[in-house]
Symmetry: C2
Subunit: 192 residues, 2 copies
DNA sequence: TCAATTATTGGACACTCGTACAATTTTAAA
DNA sequence: TTTAAAATTGTACGAGTGTCCAATAATTGA
């Protein structure tokens, strides 16, 4: 997004929403790769100039979309805690979020099976998590907090990918079990 | 690569090498994003048509470059073993490989700091590893082998990123220690 | 309210992309 | 060596990209 600094007027908000909706809609009909800026402008009913007024390119818009979604899971309200708590809490919230929008996600995955979108999304979530958690997290072993958070999100991403993209039928309980086993730290209990 | 099936004649080999060299060279001068097919053709002294004869696009060429590099570490010669052995062996080989080409890597990283290249590379390595290891790996806990291998490579990638991209000064021994701690499985010894 | 500042829009530009196809060169077989 | 088949190359095309700038519209403060 080009205008982090400026205040967002009502008109600007309308424009941002129009484009993010256009992207969301476009992704149910074609792969992200196939989406063009022209597409989005047509869908959103704004000229190209306006698009480039707000966004660098379609990746930038995608990131904005991600930010809207990530905002929904309130990572900033995470309690201070140890690795395990944070791992499981983040996982739960992301899992529930995707699960809630199951129908939409299914439509998107028809044209986007390669995991690029989920990778991008969890990468975004990781960056947000990074900032919020690095100072909070209580690391069990002597490791840089940054590395631990990154690994935490990578592992979550892996399990979410296994469940939602590769579509292995798993209950949430089982998914959690996989997560904890993969993560492997002996200190973490395997049940809630 | 478009011509997996056909035999590679000497002429074709010359062309492939010319383009992969062109890519390698281009990456020391600009970001991958900035590299254009025209660039590569100019550098390699071949017409665009020839480029598209051999490759889908620049990503395809990049993958070919990766395949050349990955071939150097002989993943296919990996002994059958448990998770820990495979984790450490793969890590060692990738670490050594990058370390050997330290000077080149440094040049590339000047214009490619975002980790995209390393991510792509380890992703490629993972895919190769996936195929070779899924049937070999002895999984400690009840988890799909596919998931374990993916997690294994993701963790390796994370530490390599920490050392080589984020440029934290670490001895190989320490890097290995980080790897094992991150990976966290209690069964793995922390020393060689 | 009206002017001044700021934002949005339309159009043009130079560029890249990937494809298609005909002309040419290379390769391999007879 | 000659010829038929296959691969390579030149050229042109439609479509997309991102930038720039001037004209137009919208906000805001005086």
């Amino acid at each position: 997004m080009k205008q982090q600094t400026k205040k967002i007027t009502r008109g600007a908000q309308r424009t941002l929403s129009a484009f993010s909706n256009a992207m969301s809609q476009a992704l149910t009909q074609q792969s992200f790769e196939a989406v063009t800026v022209n597409n989005l402008c047509q869908q959103a009913n704004y000229p190209r100039s306006t698009f480039y007024n707000y966004f660098e390119d379609k990746y930038d818009l995608l990131n904005y979309c991600f930010s809207l979604i990530v905002a929904e899971i309130h990572l900033n309200e995470l309690a201070i805690g140890d690795e395990g708590q944070i791992l499981l809490t983040c996982f739960d919230r992301l899992y529930d979020l995707i699960d809630q929008h199951k129908a939409y996600v299914a439509k998107v995955l028809v044209h986007n099976q390669d995991g690029f979108l989920l990778a991008g999304f969890t990468n975004y979530a990781q960056q947000v998590g990074q900032k919020l958690l690095v100072d909070k997290i209580a690391v069990v072993q002597e490791l840089p907090a940054e590395l631990v958070v990154a690994h935490c999100f990578a592992t979550i991403s892996m399990v979410l990918n296994w469940v939602f993209v590769k579509q292995n039928q798993l209950t949430k309980q089982d998914a959690r079990l996989y997560l904890v086993r993969l993560y492997g730290k002996p200190g973490l209990a395997e049940t809630k």
